[in-house]
Amino acid sequence: MLRVDAAAFDPGAELNAFSAGLTTAGAVVSFTGIVRDTPAGLAAMEIEHYPAMTGPAIAEMQTTAARRWDLAASLVIHRHGRLEPGETIMMVATAAPHRAAAFAATEYLMDYLKSRAPFWKKEIARDGTETWVAATPEDEDALSRWD
């Protein structure tokens, strides 16, 4: 399951809907990312993406995760557009018979979404300053553990 949308979503409702259909998978892990305020004061975050590429890139990550681990299902929801502090940016959930697989697959999807899904974040400070969020070496390094 995959959704890329400008609209807000309800992480709790999504978690419940995701879990509701499971019969064999007893372990569900979720990650939710929330816009944080910054020391300078954040007015909003703007998320741009590459619509023709985003869906296929994320779907491929989900397929790879399902091949690597014994998963019953995975869910990725990612917003784009303008978000204010406190709003939920994105969510990943996976379900598996065993918790180790659900934890690993959720971390894998997060690491790949960070560095290989075509999203770019811009922070707009309350004084109007705009700053593109830079990718960090740590985010790139996080991928190498899955080689």
């Binding site: 590459y50 960070k114 075509p118 999203f119 974040k121």
Partner: protein, 82 residues
């Protein structure tokens, strides 16, 4: 003719999100050299290619990748999803 798309600060520096380019460039690097020679805003966008990523028809590629058969080239900074 090839579609070229730009995202994030590359889009802002070049001043447009998408354009059609008439080119005989054989590789991505050739295309970047052509664009850079065109106007200062392209030179500004591609000044540090270590910070530029490329996708050919929505798949990540290197600067040495051939453009033969490619319909859409995308240039963007390292991604910051999640």
């Amino acid at each position: 003719m090839i579609d070229v798309v730009y995202f994030a600060w590359l889009r802002e520096r070049i001043g447009l999100p998408r354009e059609q380019v008439e080119t005989r460039a054989e590789t991505v690097a050739d295309l970047v050299a052509e664009l850079t020679a065109r106007e200062p805003r392209y030179a500004a966008a591609f000044a540090d290619t270590a910070s530029v990523r490329v996708a050919l028809d929505q798949s990540l590629a290197g600067f040495d990748a051939p453009l033969s058969g490619v319909r859409e080239v995308a240039f963007f900074p390292p991604m910051t999803g999640g």
